[in-house]
């Protein structure tokens, strides 16, 4: 589904954010990307739907090259859902309109159809009663669930999560993770940047460990948690799992 091959990215000529990254996410697979901050995991996931440009290598989604000039990027992005660390709901639009905007403007759905879809998804994430509120009137966890629903409203073929729980208070993390676990169990193709190792243990098929812009470890979940091959991954795991 998502093929990343030999991707390198430089922010400045001397600062290399990604070094020759190669991996893939198969259809229905859940891949967790972890690593210390500044390791390039967010950059990598933003390269997947071309929010960040990269200089070398190639990425394809469902067989479509994203770094091909002829590719209609907005059309491709509409098929890949993305959830951000800071939710990024549109503050001037009611929750329901946040979910309908792209359905109508990008997919060309009729307003009633979009509203129907939106309400179904809001019900699914448990926020049907908040449809008429504005984002700032919701808690962080609720906003992130809306953000997931907004991405799902586009009927995506894959979902990208960029640290979806990092900006949340501890008691709100589980309500967001619950939604993500359900999604994973339904067979959604997911690439998730997160430090939530509990989530990784529960639903990930593979875990990728990144450090200093490189993919250091790319292993099935059992192998990764059983005995990571690299020292750096071992150290990282011992630090975040010891508490």
């Amino acid at each position: 589904m998502i093929e990343i091959s030999h991707v390198s990215k430089w922010y400045t000529p001397i600062f290399q954010a990604l070094k020759d990254c190669t991996t893939s996410v198969a259809k229905g697979e859940v891949v967790v990307v972890c690593g210390p901050s500044g390791s390039g995991k967010s950059t990598l996931i933003k390269c997947v739907n071309a929010l960040e440009p990269f200089q070398e290598g190639s990425i394809s989604i469902d067989g479509i090259q994203i770094n091909d000039r002829k590719t209609n990027l907005p059309k491709l992005r509409a098929r890949v859902g993305m959830v951000f660390q800071h939710f990024e709901l549109f503050p001037h639009l009611r929750i329901i309109d946040n979910l309908c905007l792209a359905q109508e403007k990008v997919l060309g759905r009729k307003h009633d159809e979009a509203v129907g879809k939106a309400m179904k998804l809001l019900e699914r994430v448990g926020l049907k009663d908040h449809a008429q509120k504005f984002p700032a009137e919701l808690s962080g966890g609720q906003q992130q669930r809306v953000a997931i629903a907004r991405a799902l409203a586009m009927d995506p073929i894959a979902m990208l999560f960029d640290e979806p729980t990092s900006a949340l208070d501890p008691e709100m993390i589980s309500e967001v993770l619950d939604v993500m676990v359900d999604l994973a169990r339904e067979g959604m193709t997911m690439m998730v940047v997160t430090h939530e190792m509990g989530f990784a243990r529960k639903v990930a098929h593979r875990v990728i460990f990144m450090d200093k812009g490189e993919i250091v470890e790319d292993a099935p979940k059992q192998d990764f948690f059983g005995k990571p091959r690299s020292d750096r991954a071992q150290k990282f795991l011992s630090k975040i799992l010891s508490h």
Binding site: L51, G81, H86, F90, P91, L101, K105, F134
Partner: protein, 243 residues
């Protein structure tokens, strides 16, 4: 001070033969309002376009926006008005220059366009500040949903940015109104112009300029109140100025 106050002067006929001195001032007031409104509309439209250009990723768009803003904000308004009124017709091919000079209401058009363009540079900078003050994630979220750059500006970035810059925009609108007084130098008989001619005809300088001052104050109060109402109307619940 040996000044003969005469507040009845407003109701005495003016020497042009068209009504009283008050009528003279009122005709100036209408011209001031008309010039301000035209200039403000020009400032808002061109200023918005240039402001948006300055925030686009495209280098040429940026450069054009930069040159435009620096050209119009670094020259005194008075010089700009003179340039449009006296110099431009001489620079154009003969026939065009002649046409311009013979244009009826030339001072009005010159003032509206000249002040409009001068103010547009300021509006552009306000809007640029508003757009760049938004979290980067807003643009990314819009892009990730498949919205094109144009769509993300229209539906996401601009509606929020305009709300943020409403208070400084109010000041710019007031500045536009006050700047129309400069048009007296190219023969536009707006409020300041009419107050001056009233002074010259009647020698009642204090009465003339007191009345003009009150009228300027009245227009500006209307603008301030109207803008406050708009601010309140578009406020987003829970966000910035919203409640």
């Amino acid at each position: 001070m040996n000044y003969h106050w005469n507040w009845h002067i407003f109701f005495e006929p003016n020497p042009t033969g068209a009504g009283t001195y008050l009528d003279m001032l009122l005709s100036g007031l209408w011209l001031t309002i008309a010039t301000s409104l035209c200039a403000w509309i020009i400032a808002l439209i061109t200023g918005s376009m240039i402001g948006v250009m300055r925030t686009l990723p495209s280098k040429p768009a940026n450069l054009i926006g930069f040159a435009y803003v620096e050209f119009f904000r670094n020259m005194p308004l008075l010089v700009q008005i003179f340039l449009w009124f006296f110099v431009l017709p001489e620079l154009l091919p003969n026939a065009w220059g002649l046409w311009l000079k013979q244009l009826p209401h030339a001072p009005f058009y010159t003032a509206a366009i000249g002040i409009g363009l001068f103010m547009s540079a300021r509006v552009a900078e306000q809007l640029r500040a508003g757009i760049t003050s938004l979290p980067r994630g807003q643009k990314q979220a819009a892009t990730a949903l498949g919205l094109t750059t144009t769509q993300s500006y229209i539906y996401v970035l601009l509606p929020i940015a305009y709300r943020i810059i409403l208070p400084p925009l109010t000041s710019e609108f007031l500045n536009t109104i006050k700047n129309t007084a400069v048009a007296i130098t190219i023969g536009l008989l707006e409020l300041t112009g009419q107050a001056r001619s009233m002074q010259e005809f009647s020698f009642q300088v204090f009465e003339a300029f007191t009345a003009a001052t009150v009228m300027y104050l009245a227009i500006n109060i209307v603008v301030v109140v109207a803008m406050r109402l708009i601010e309140r109307r578009v406020a987003i619940p829970g966000y910035i100025s919203g409640k």
